[in-house]
């Protein structure tokens, strides 16, 4: 067996899995999204979505929320990853355990926890009311803020761990050199560590953005039926209006929308780095 054959053999299971579990369903979805009522094909489902302010607003909310969630995860995750990277091995292990710990409970359970905290008589809403910061009937539940809070908690580990991996590989002496040359701590962080950890930031942001754009459970539970995101709208079209071609069209639009944002982001980030 030649090397080439061996690598082909090793690739085969992965390729089969990708083809069966990813490509075929995506192709089916694409086909369904242009399926006409009489077996022909049509672009009506896309026209219906793009010509309707209601659905465009759902799309805009999905993208906006995903961007906000990504930005907050980055703002919290980067300093966290930096501290973890520069900590001694023992405390680092504990910090990593702390970051990963939330991943060990199911998303649904964590989200139910937030539902209790954010509801009208829950801890968070109650405190805000007690301090006179919010009106009597105020609740964080069923708002976009609730979705952002819940999603940031779910997705922060992805961001922190992606950045951590890269910062760990940055030689601390580069940073020391910057400090000896007269950089302040923050200046060294911004001018040296940040640019060098760009690959981790890109990878983390991509993960967080795509996961939040396509997530369904947390936004649906914390946002309620009144704050709809695209994934929930797809689910509604599948289970309630039973309009599967329209559901497929919405899924294709979500897919295309995520791609449209990701591709330039990867390009710009890639150029900046190398």
């Amino acid at each position: 067996m030649t090397d080439r054959q061996e690598s082909a053999l090793l690739l085969l299971p992965g390729l089969l899995l990708l083809a069966g579990a990813f490509l075929v369903p995506i192709l089916q979805m694409l086909a369904l999204s242009v399926a006409g009522p009489d077996g022909g094909w049509t672009l009506d489902h896309f026209r219906r979505f793009l010509g309707d302010g209601f659905y465009l607003a759902v799309l805009a909310r999905t993208v906006r929320l995903s961007l906000v969630i990504t930005a907050i995860c980055l703002a919290v995750g980067f300093p966290m990853a930096y501290i973890m990277a520069r900590a001694r091995p023992r405390p680092r292990v504990w910090l990593i355990v702390l970051v990963i710990l939330p991943l060990m409970t199911s998303v649904v359970v964590r989200t139910f926890g937030w539902m209790v905290l954010l509801s009208r008589s829950g801890l968070v809403s109650g405190l805000l009311r007690d301090f006179g910061l919010a009106p009597r009937n105020f609740a964080l539940m069923y708002t976009e803020t609730a979705i952002v809070i819940g999603m940031v908690q779910v997705l922060l580990p992805f961001m922190a761990l992606s950045i951590l991996g890269v910062i760990l590989r940055i030689d601390p002496r580069i940073e020391e050199a910057a400090r000896t040359m007269g950089c302040s701590f923050l200046r060294a962080l911004a001018a040296v560590v940040l640019p060098l950890s760009l690959p981790g930031i890109v990878a983390g942001s991509l993960l967080v953005f795509t996961l939040s754009a396509s997530s369904f459970v947390t936004p649906n539970l914390l946002g309620g039926p009144r704050v709809q995101v695209l994934a929930a709208s797809v689910w509604r079209a599948v289970t309630q209006t039973l309009d599967w071609p329209f559901a497929a069209a919405q899924a294709v639009i979500l897919f295309a929308g995520v791609l449209a944002i990701l591709v330039p982001y990867i390009r710009i980030a890639g150029r900046g780095h190398g």
Binding site: F54, S119, Y142, R226, R236, T239, L242, D243
Partner: protein
């Protein structure tokens, strides 16, 4: 030689699998207390009597129907339960198998409205749920007596509405729409009223447990919902009362349907027959306060007071035409979504 051995081994395995699956049927149930009652009243006695095993998938009607449709080529359910009239669409699409009334020992004892089209594939209704006004008798200043009361401005901040994705939510909305001057061709009066309620601070939830949460923790006063869930709330220790609206009581029919193209239809029919038996229905009424559809079911005591039963009482319940609902569902859900969207 090796091939023969392989062949016979795989044939034996296939046979074993077939034998095992003949002893198992897969059904959907609706979770929570309902599923507990379902187990106690139907599933456990059925398993004891037949020696078969029942696999339960927890799925509400809309989700269950979506699954049934997705599995059209290779269905996974044997008996599927709906509360939203999905059996009409399922029968039309050939996903459900016709039932010969003679194959169900208890079919003849069912009240007429519970078996509108067995031969067409629409399974029999085994429970009927009454919808009305569920309110917290301690918190509310003046209890509601009519559906129109839901529109009172002083309720709005403590009013809980249910999303149209939920069968009870849809039926309650149609009733509200009707008393406000709308009908099955015009739901605008209902939508306008809902818009006003939401602006006044009403919340929309999608599932029963969320209603419990609203009553238990979030100062809910009133919700248009079902008598069985009012009972569940009361059992949970909440001071909740169920009142029938003066304008009428809409009813939801829970049906048991035979899925087409499954190998063990005979066992599945036995299961359905048990669901429509008097014993199962009396048990269901005791656990959940569902109205029995079998006229031989006798209720006594507190259960009889809480639950409408008998041909006359069931006849007075309102039923929105499921075929009209099915025909309009997509458009209504979309209009509803637009109305409630922030």
């Amino acid at each position: 030689m090796r091939n023969t051995v392989l062949l016979s081994v795989s044939a034996a395995a296939a046979l074993a699998a077939a034998a095992a699956s003949a002893q198992t049927i897969t059904i959907n149930s609706f979770g929570g207390r309902y599923e507990e009652a379902h187990r106690k009243c139907v599933i456990a006695p059925f398993e004891a009597a037949t020696g078969a095993k029942v696999q339960i998938v927890t799925a509400y009607s809309a989700d269950a129907f979506a699954q049934l449709r997705a599995q059209a080529a290779a269905p996974q359910f044997d008996v599927i339960h709906f509360s939203g009239g999905q059996e009409i669409l399922g029968a039309k699409e050939g996903l459900l198998a016709p039932i010969d009334a003679a194959s169900l020992a208890n079919a003849a004892d069912l009240v007429e409205v519970a078996r509108p089209n067995l031969a067409g594939g629409q399974g029999p209704a085994y429970s009927i749920v009454a919808l009305g006004l569920v309110y917290n008798s301690q918190a509310i200043p003046a209890p509601p007596t009519a559906w129109a009361d839901l529109a009172r401005p002083e309720y709005a901040g403590n009013l809980v509405l249910t999303d149209m994705s939920n069968t009870y939510g849809l039926q309650g909305f149609l009733m509200l729409n009707q008393v406000l001057g709308g009908d099955m061709t015009n739901i605008q009066p209902g939508l306008d009223a809902v818009k006003t309620m939401l602006d006044g601070g009403a919340v929309v939830v999608s599932t029963s447990p969320e209603i419990m949460q609203e009553f238990a923790q979030n100062e809910a006063w009133v919700a248009p919902y079902s008598s069985d869930y009012a009972f569940t709330l009361r059992e949970a220790g909440l001071p909740v009362v169920f009142a029938r609206g003066a304008e009428g009581t809409p009813a939801v029919f829970i049906t048991a349907n035979l899925v087409a193209n499954r190998p063990n239809a005979e066992l599945a029919l036995k299961f359905i027959d048990r669901e429509i038996s008097p014993e199962a229905q009396v048990c269901f009424a005791g656990e959940m306060r569902y109205a029995p559809t079998n006229l031989k079911a006798e209720l006594t005591g507190a259960v009889a007071e809480d639950t409408p039963y008998g041909a006359e009482a069931l006849g007075s319940l309102l039923r929105f035409d499921p075929t009209v609902i099915e025909a309009n569902r997509a458009a209504w859900v979309e209009a509803w979504n637009r109305t409630i969207a922030r």
